[in-house]
């Protein structure tokens, strides 16, 4: 890819004014005092972003972080309060499927109307019409009024129209999770096709796995600011850590309120069997020692410590804890050190994370650190994937 930028966002901020009045009377009565009835809300603050051709960018972040606002700004639907958004090429936005559908018109009429809204001419629609209907798989109902469609049929037809538009930039907002599984797969295939054709895709989603699967870049937004921008793996790590921090705060608050014990991990160290420490690099089949340090501010009774191994994207590969290992831990208060040894790890080449957890025996979480430490495994280049096996081949 040469890096021609197709979207250039420069220092964009967006302020929403939340007014509490709407009618003429209210405005006249409150005239001059209207600032009392206004609230400012900065949905985006000083966002800079450049997207080059052919890349697929995932915009991720917690609810209300400004993802959709940014997407609408790229689509020209909202105007930035300050800063500028520039584009190259033709843009199509899938912000809501079937936004232009009219319930009283037939499927056929709606296809033409919706295609026209997305920027296709009548002739182009004529040419793609059969393909659209075929893709949607609702041919028998194409001349039925749309109001009689099931929601699945509605979405199928809308998506079919949308993917037959020929955009250079495609904006997608949370619309991939539609239809049944077979149709979803069809949609995802289509999006992969778009990637191969060098189209630029900007995706807003909460499906982090989708980001990991499709995007070659992920941008994390939080409270209207870009907090991470890079490979999906790194961005997801930042986002997951944030989610975890928020969740942990909530758990702590609840714990305090419920009088549950307070304790947290204060340190972790990894050591491979060959003695490497820090961010150790293991050979396939080598063992790993995980040492953890905890600090309990209130006494722990009936408690467990667990460790697990996950991929960098957060998929759990392995996990164990003291209960499963048949160890009963004594009452504990203050600092403490514990050690797990995980022998003969049959892991394939790649990077892995260690997760640690502190739970009560009734299942309540006391402290969980999803990516407490990292290590990598060097394979022999004879396999791929997270699992290692002794593979042999024979012709019979």
């Amino acid at each position: 890819m040469d890096g021609t930028p197709v979207i250039r966002i420069e220092n964009v901020s967006k302020r929403f004014v939340i007014r509490k009045e709407k009618s003429l009377k209210e405005r006249l009565v409150n005239f001059g005092r209207s600032n009392l009835h206004k609230d400012d809300f900065w949905a985006l603050q000083n966002v800079d972003l450049e997207v080059s051709t052919g890349s697929t960018v995932g915009l991720i972040g917690p609810n209300g972080s400004g993802k959709s606002t940014l997407l609408k700004m790229i689509g020209g639907i909202l105007q930035p309060t300050s800063g500028s958004v520039h584009l190259r090429g033709r843009l199509a936005a899938l912000l809501e499927l079937g936004a232009g559908f009219h319930p009283d018109l037939t499927g056929r009429e709606n296809v033409y109307l919706n295609a026209s809204i997305l920027g296709l001419s009548r002739k182009q629609t004529d040419r793609h019409f059969d393909a659209m209907v075929d893709f949607s798989g609702i041919e028998p109902f194409i001349d039925t009024q749309v109001k009689f469609y099931s929601s699945g049929m509605y979405v199928r037809l809308a998506f079919a129209v949308a993917v037959h538009v020929d955009p250079d930039i495609l904006l997608v907002d949370e619309v991939l999770a539609v239809g049944d599984e077979q149709f979803q797969r069809k949609c995802l295939e289509r999006i992969r096709g778009f990637q191969h054709e060098g189209r630029t895709i900007v995706l807003v989603t909460h499906g982090l796995d989708q980001v990991a699967e499709f995007c070659d870049r992920a941008v994390v937004l939080e409270h209207g600011k870009v907090t991470a921008d890079g490979l999906p793996r790194d961005a997801l790590k930042v986002l997951r850590a944030d989610f975890e921090a928020t969740r942990q705060e909530e758990v702590d608050r609840q714990d305090e309120a419920a009088g549950r014990p307070l304790a947290r991990f204060t340190g972790i160290a990894l050591r491979s069997d060959s003695g490497a420490t820090g961010h150790p690099s293991l050979r396939t089949g080598e063992g790993l020692t995980v040492a953890v340090e905890i600090e309990a501010t209130t006494p722990l009774e009936d408690w467990e410590i667990g460790v697990g191994i996950t991929t960098p994207l957060g998929t759990a590969l392995y996990g164990t804890n003291t209960r499963l290992l048949g160890v009963k831990l004594d009452r504990h208060v203050g600092p403490g050190r514990f050690e797990f040894h995980l022998g003969q790890l049959a892991l394939g080449e790649g990077d892995y994370s260690v997760q640690t957890s502190l739970t009560g025996s009734d299942g309540t979480e006391i402290d969980v650190v999803p990516q407490a430490a990292e290590f990598s495994v060097e394979g022999d280049g004879r396999s791929q994937g997270a699992l290692a096996a002794q593979a042999k081949f024979a012709v019979l």
């Binding site: 890819m1 040469d2 021609t4 930028p5 197709v6 250039r8 929403f16 709407k22 009618s23 003429l24 009377k25 405005r27 051709t53 052919g54 609408k72 700004m73 790229i74 689509g75 020209g76 639907i77 909202l78 105007q79 500028s84 958004v85 520039h86 584009l87 190259r88 090429g89 843009l91 936005a93 912000l95 809501e96 936004a99 232009g100 009219h102 009283d104 018109l105 009429e109 033409y112 109307l113 026209s116 809204i117 997305l118 001419s121 009548r122 009024q145 250079d168 191969h196 054709e197 060098g198 189209r199």
Partner: protein
């Protein structure tokens, strides 16, 4: 496998090369009050096909599932004609001083109907299409303009009936009379479109506009010589020439008089006529075009915040 791989990269490179040659453009509508006119016009022209679809959608959905369908767009004005003809013409005796009273009334109602529909439907058009405006970027002018389109369609049907009626009563308009029709129609369209654009945009910020428009239209209806003749007004205002000039400043008065000059052939026998109607209409047209421009620019300014205000 390698074949498809190379073609893929070919499309991708071709696209990248084509895009590299394109200049960066600003997302959404271009700013600038005076400078944006041309680009606005170009944007609207590029979406003329979409406007056609929207007009068709409007018309199709309006009478869908009704047994009489398009006949309804005739029944309403005909019922109004009947009411005014019987109540005003016969009971109040207006028909005595106005020859061919039915033609007279129907001419006025046809012109008024077009103005009324463009302004009412146009004002509501942006709010009514909020679902679309919040989700897709289009030049938002297409919504009020498609309201104009669907109103013109019902107008054409009524006009057909009016022309047929003049033939039936045996006083079909001929010659120089037809000069007034396109001129007044142009004035009517320009003013109503300007109002529709302005009001639809203001309606987004202040929903009171819809109700305000209803009241204003009612006043305007009785402020124009639709169900009474200009002669009656003239007689009352003889001593107050300023008031009469004020009355004639109303473009709808001029439009209705222009329509009547064309289609109400029996009106020639009236004792008083509006003087210099052609000139007045010409001036109104120039003012109307200026107003249309100002309204469009105001619309362009206001539309930037539509999506967040709806």
């Amino acid at each position: 496998m390698t074949d498809t791989a190379t073609t893929r990269t070919d499309t991708a490179t071709a696209r990248a090369v084509r895009l590299a040659a394109e200049p960066l453009r600003e997302a959404g509508p271009r700013p600038g009050f005076a400078t944006g006119t041309l680009s606005s016009l170009r944007d609207i022209a590029a979406h003329s096909e979409l406007m056609g679809f929207l007009v068709r959608r409007e018309l199709k959905s309006r009478y869908k599932d009704s047994a009489l369908g398009f006949l309804w767009s005739l029944i309403r004005p005909l019922a109004m004609l009947l009411i005014y003809y019987v109540a005003l013409g016969k009971f109040l005796g207006a028909a005595r001083s106005i020859p061919d009273f039915a033609i007279f009334i129907y001419t006025g109602l046809t012109a008024w109907g077009l103005f009324n529909e463009i302004v009412t439907v146009g004002t509501a058009s942006i709010v009514a299409n909020s679902g679309l405006i919040k989700k897709v970027y289009l030049p938002r002018e297409v919504f009020p303009l498609s309201a104009v389109g669907s109103a013109v369609f019902s107008f054409l049907i009524q006009l057909g009936i009016l022309i047929a009626a003049t033939a039936v009563v045996g006083r079909f308009p001929t010659g120089i009379r037809w000069f007034y029709f396109p001129l007044s129609l142009a004035v009517l369209l320009v003013f109503s479109t300007a109002l529709a654009l302005l009001l639809s945009a203001v309606n987004v910020y202040l929903r009171d506009v819809g109700y305000l428009v209803e009241v204003a239209l009612m006043i305007l209806f009785w402020g124009s010589p639709i169900v009474y003749s200009w002669s009656l007004v003239h007689r009352q205002l003889l001593k107050y020439p300023t008031l009469e000039q004020l009355y004639l400043l109303n473009p709808i008065t001029l439009v209705v008089c222009g329509f009547q000059r064309t289609f109400w052939v029996a009106g020639d026998a009236q004792p008083f006529q509006v003087t210099a109607l052609g000139e007045r209409l010409g001036i109104a047209l120039v003012v109307g075009v200026l107003l249309l421009w100002v309204c469009q620019r105001t619309f362009a300014r206001l539309q930037a915040n539509f999506a967040q205000e709806l």
